[in-house]
Every structure is written in C-alpha cells, then in structure tokens.
C-alpha cells in the first residue's frame, strides 16, 4: 500500500511548558494508538530542535560540515509519522487527526519509494 510522510511543522523558539504539552502528547499518543490498531502505523519520531542539527555538503570530492539546520526559517519539522493508506483521502483523514492532536500544521506527502516497516 502507498506510504505517506506526515511532517509536523512547529514554530522555532523555546519549547512550551510541560503543563502545556502534556495534553497534546496524550492526544498524539491516542492518534498513534489508533493508527496502530488500524494497521496504518509504520513509524513515528520526534526530533530535537534545529539548533542540534549539522549539515554535510559534498563538493569537489570533499564534504563540508556546517553547524545548524539546512534551512533557517520560522518553522521547522519537529516530528513526523509514516503511515500506510489506500489513497490521499485516507492519508488526509489521518493527517487531520494529527493536526488536531498536535495543534500544528501537518504536511502530507506521498513516498515514492524506500518504504519502511
């Protein structure tokens, strides 16, 4: 079945308080459980902030190492979920649940190859 990458976009800046995050994390876990029970869950992960990122660029036989994320912006990918879905409508339905749970924008993108799980 087709796999889709659901990327979670979150604003840069300090993480919200634990009190603020607790119900959100609970909602996200509920979506993940639902995904698993539906057999749609493939993989999910949350990331450390972009300040922890390192970029490697191959050029003229050398690989340049740069501190920081590849793209500096106001938002970054804070986490992602890979799901299995029959078509875009099914994938968007999961994406909607994730958007409600995270309260953040979700980008839904079909995977061309390299399926995992």
């Amino acid at each position: 079945m087709q796999q889709y990458l659901l990327s979670i976009y979150q604003p840069d800046g300090p993480a919200p308080s634990a009190d603020f995050l607790a119900p959100i994390m609970r909602d996200i876990e509920a979506v993940n459980t639902e995904l698993r029970e539906a057999g749609a869950w493939v993989f999910a992960g949350g990331l450390f902030p972009p300040s922890t990122a390192t970029v490697l660029t191959a050029k003229d036989g050398e690989v340049l190492t740069t501190d920081g994320p590849f793209v500096e912006g106001k938002e970054h990918i804070g986490g992602f979920t890979v799901i299995r879905a029959a078509d875009l409508d099914a994938a968007l339905a999961w994406g909607r649940k994730l958007a409600r749970a995270t309260t953040l924008p979700i980008e839904v993108r079909p995977m061309e190859f390299g399926s995992c799980g």
């Binding site: 079945m1 409508d89 079909p110």
Partner: protein, 414 residues
Amino acid sequence: MTSEPASAAEVERVFRAEYGRAVAVLVRRFGDIDVAEEAVQDAFATAAERWPATGIPPRPAGWIITTAGNRTVDRLRREASRADRHARAALLHTRGDPPEGGDPPEEGPVRDDRLRLIFTCCHPALAPASRVALTLRLLGGLSTAEIARAFLVPEATMAQRLVRAKGKIRDARIPYRVPEEADLPDRLRAVLAVVYLVFNEGYTASSGDRLVRDDLCAEAVRLGRLLAELMPDEPEVLGLLALMLLIEARRAARTTDGGGLVPLAEQDRRMWDRDRTAEGQDLVRRCLRRGRPGPYQIQAAINAVHSDAPTAAETDWSQILRLYDQLAAFTPTPVVALNRAVAVAEVEGAAAGLALVDGIDLGRHHLFHAVRADLLRRLGRNSEAAAAYDAAIARAGNEAERAFLERRRTTLGR
C-alpha cells in the same frame, strides 16, 4: 455506416459533448489520466478523418470509447514488452485488479464515470486554479491554449499547471471516486465553486478575448447541466444551474452594440432569452420545493424575482430583500452585505441603504464605491457622489465598467 456524411461542425459538436465522458471511462479503465486523454484524442482524430465520409455512428461516444480503448490496449502491450513501468501498471488496472491493499468497493448504484472525474478534478488537495484548469481540460475538452487564453496566462504556464496537477493526482493517489455521504456536502461545494468560477470568469469579462469568454459561460452551463443530470437530488446543483441560466438569459441585453455595459434596471427586457429564463425559473421552483435552501438556490431565486418583473419599476424589492436576509445568514460576506444594502435602498430609501453601505468594509472593491456613488447621487449629494465615482473608476476591472461609471459620473451635471 448508414448515416449521412458529417460536417466538421458536427464532429466538433460530438467532441464537445462526448469528450469528458470518453476520458472519464478510460481513466477508470486505465487508471492514468494522460493515457486516457491521449487515447481519446487519437480516437477523435480518426473520427475527424472518417466521419465526414461515413457519417457519425449511431452511438458516437461508444465508438470513441471502444476505439480509444482498443488502441490503448495495443499500445500498452507494445510498450509493456519494452518494460515500461507505467504501461505495465496501467495494464494491471485494465484486468480489473484492485490496487494493492484495495479500495473498498463503491457502495450503492454504479455512478457515471464523469462524476468521479469531476470530484477528482475538484479535489481540495489541488489549488483552486488547478481545479478549474483540470475541469475545463478533462471534462470540457478545452485545449491548454484555450484555457490559457481564457485566464490570461501564458500557454506554457497553463501547461505546467496541468502537468503538475495531473502528477499530483497520480503520485499522491488522489482517488477516482465519488466521495462518501459524510464528505459529500463539502466536496460538492468545491465542485460547484469551480463551475461558478468558470461562469463568472466568462461573465464578468474582466479582460481578454470576448469570444473565449462567451465560450466559458457556455461551458459552465454545460457542466452545470451535467451535474444536474448526474445529481438530480442535490438542490444546490439545480440552484447553480438555475442561477447561471437566469444570468445568461440577459446576455444580449447586458451590453450595447458598442460593448458598453447596460445595468439591470436599464436593460431592454424583451431581449432576455425566454427559454433560458423559463428554464431557470422552473428550476428555482423545483429546488425551493425541497426545502433545503443554500446560497446558489437563494441567488437563483433573487434573479428569478428580477426576471419576473416586466419592467424594472415593477421589481418586487421586498421579496429580494427577504432573500438577501436569507443569503446573508448562509454567507455573511461583505459583497452579500453590499447587495443587501442595495435592496434596502429600494425598499426603505437611499438614505437607509447608504447608512448600511458606509458600515461595510469593502473599500478596495470598485462595486462598493459605485453603489455608494449611486446612492449619494439619488440623495442629491453630487460632489460626494462624484468623488465616489472617481474612486470606483480608479478600481474598475475592465474598460466596459470604467466607461459605464464615467458615463454615470457625467450625468451628475456639474
């Protein structure tokens, strides 16, 4: 082949009428829009060569679909032997295998393939401009060049837009099916919006080639008829068709020979197309009887009230005002508020209308200033009216509107 030889115009008429149906059937069969389009275009090219001599077959759509299907199977077999990935995938679909994992079988009676195609073209995951372009291309059979001319973008840009949209449908797997009952109202709204957008683009003639624009209105009405045929139980579908017919009926009366704009109140009502008006009014009665009103039905009803009046002076403005009250409850937009204020001015006087207009936040729109100017003129506040006309003229979208507003401004008699 017993038919009379066919003229090029007749072949063209069949093309316009049957292109969408043929593409829709072949998309389902081959699971690929490009393959379907190419096949149907090939089949029509053959028809254009043969039919002038042999006549149009009794079931032209059937002939086109069979010819296109057979050729595609032959072509895909050849290409499959050259290990073409897409061709193999498409052949897989022709054997009727469900895609891996399987879509659930469609509930209820088998729907027309064109309905599936419309919902795919108007999928909310596609940008509105892409929905319009795809619908005109795949269901209307308009060429990329025609669509580009109608929307005043370079042909290369329109081609790119279509390629990108079709690529997304394929790669992201936008499904080829009629949405389930729960999603239908939202999805149908998107479809109706595309058809009405095509109509308005043709109607308002904000710029561009006049002939192409008349074609857009005709195409929108044709799509509206198709939807009404495929979804006869959806009152908003009937409402949209009625709305377009009632507006389209006034086309001849709406412009002077020189292309000048004639407002509704000054139109020669004998020039209104009686058949379209009657059909529109009949549709309004039919859909309102269902008791499930919506924005298109109400707008159609407003236009039906205008059409009922033998002269502008006999217009039943209080009924129009009641309908605008209803419309404002459905779609509380500034434009609706502005139109409602016009009705208030007719029922309660220009001062009452102006008081409402001044509370509407629509200063960037030329219509706002034009309505204000007209009300100020009726109140004898000529210098303020002149300033409002100037503001309207500065914001008008096309030459005809600008010329109309300038004429109006000169009647202030300064």
